[in-house]
Symmetry: C2
DNA sequence: GGCATCACGTTTGCATGCACTTTTGCCATG
DNA sequence: CATGGCAAAAGTGCATGCAAACGTGATGCC
């Protein structure tokens, strides 16, 4: 209910503020994957002490947007290709659930709101890539928020942000073209009300977004030094050089840090 | 290699320790929903300062196991019936994904491990309910962990714990009977390798667990006082009214302080 | 007696300080 | 000249202290 909204919105929710700011900076690629996030700097920037900054980083780490290594500076997360693939797989299921719950149950106002958002996407299409990606992501979050299921909203948001991060890592300059159209189709199908149709539409949409982005395991730019250099490291000799930069996927893989 | 693997497991990962302890205490109902978790107390109990305890609470709040209200003592989360239902819906999708990835790909050792776990469940069947519930939950987490997808593992674990919490809230004494059998069926189907079969099996399994637990919106025991009393509050004056402003349902916010 | 007010103890919110770890630049040494 | 090691610098890990907010019981007023 509304009773505990005021505490986290209007009240001095400083860690939430920092989280939102960082989230946005990350998904807009103002902060690239691997970028360092020292507590001091954040604290100073946002006018708070390290305690708060640290807490915010903890939150973001729990969401998978930043990586926290002990005694080391926090960095923006750099999902591996495999993680990216897994993330999209999860996302597909989650969002199928979203549209299943939504199909045929949206009010006219909600449909209008969705259309308005896509309009905004359209406008931003020629702007910077980061903005289009963010808007596309927020479309899905908007959709999720219409389920009014806090848990679903949270998971979809989280996953969507992670996918967004992934996209910024792997995707080529322009892949959001057709996605906008697919968003419109989605809205129409939702209004129309056939759950199966809209589920399959969503599935296809996300699948193709993932495919467009994750084709051929392109090089993860900005990734950790060790990983970037991995393919170069085991060249037997400097001579017969690098035709094979197809990058062995999970060399340092597993990549340790799971839940926790 | 292995350069930073030791850090977070064996090293002084105190907040992780506290998280694990609390998680377990919560899902075993040692800490019932609504139970207070003062930072001081936790800190003292685990031999750390409030800083650490606070951080752990933050983590658990991010996982949805505890509720954090500003300037108030943290409490174990008490999911509403609707949230519970939503949680299970999400869980079904996620775990379908798990078994889809796993079907026909498990090693003999893994199958043995799964069977061993179910054996443990079997043994605990006559023990305290909380233990059976925990083991049943951990079966699913074990399954998820076999996907070796960190993200999927994390989400399934989180969701499963939340469901576990829900179960402890809503479920009647003994509903885990048949679940154990269903676990065995699941393993067999996984070994057999037909993805569709095992997915539908998992779906049915979770669905029936949810149904057994969430039938008829049974009273949420241990829930917030205001909610527990809600149905009693609008009884039309049993004999002779104390006052006319008999606590409307959502009045908890203003009740305490405002009056204006 | 009922109700509003107030004051005190409790608990969180947050900043700061210190110890410890990692990193980096520098120097001695082979 | 290359290499190993040391020491200063930077940054995190964590405890503690203080202020503000909340909860509660006591007090005074009607």
């Amino acid at each position: 209910m509304a009773r505990d909204e005021n505490r986290s919105r209007s009240a001095t929710d400083r860690v939430g503020t920092i989280c939102r700011a960082l989230r946005r900076a990350i998904i807009e690629q103002a902060l690239e994957p691997g970028a360092k996030l020292p507590e001091d700097a954040l604290g100073e920037r946002f006018g708070v002490s390290r305690t708060i900054a640290r807490h915010a980083l903890g939150q973001l780490a729990a969401e998978g947007l930043v990586e926290l290594r002990r005694n080391r500076i926090a960095v923006v997360a750099t999902p591996s290709w495999q993680e990216a693939r897994d993330t999209f797989d999860i996302r597909i299921e989650l969002e199928r659930l979203v549209v299943r719950q939504l199909a045929g149950r949206l009010s006219k106002a909600q449909i209008a709101q969705l259309h308005a958002h896509v309009d905004a996407e359209d406008e931003a299409r020629n702007g910077p890539d980061a903005i289009s990606i963010r808007l596309a992501t927020e479309f899905h979050i908007l959709l999720a928020s219409m389920t009014e299921s806090p848990i679903l909203i949270r998971y979809v948001s989280e996953i969507a942000y992670r996918c967004c991060l992934t996209l910024s890592l792997f995707s080529r300059p322009h892949s959001s073209e057709c996605a906008i159209n697919e968003h419109r189709l989605l809205i129409d199908a939702l209004a129309n009300g056939d759950a199966d149709t809209v589920m399959s539409l969503m599935h296809h949409h996300l699948d193709s977004v993932a495919s467009r982005a994750l084709v051929a395991q392109s090089k993860p730019r900005g990734r950790d030094i060790m990983d970037i250099l991995a393919p170069y490291a085991d060249l037997p000799r400097p001579m017969q050089a690098a035709s094979r930069d197809a990058a062995p996927a999970g060399s340092k893989a597993g990549a340790g840090k799971a839940a926790g």
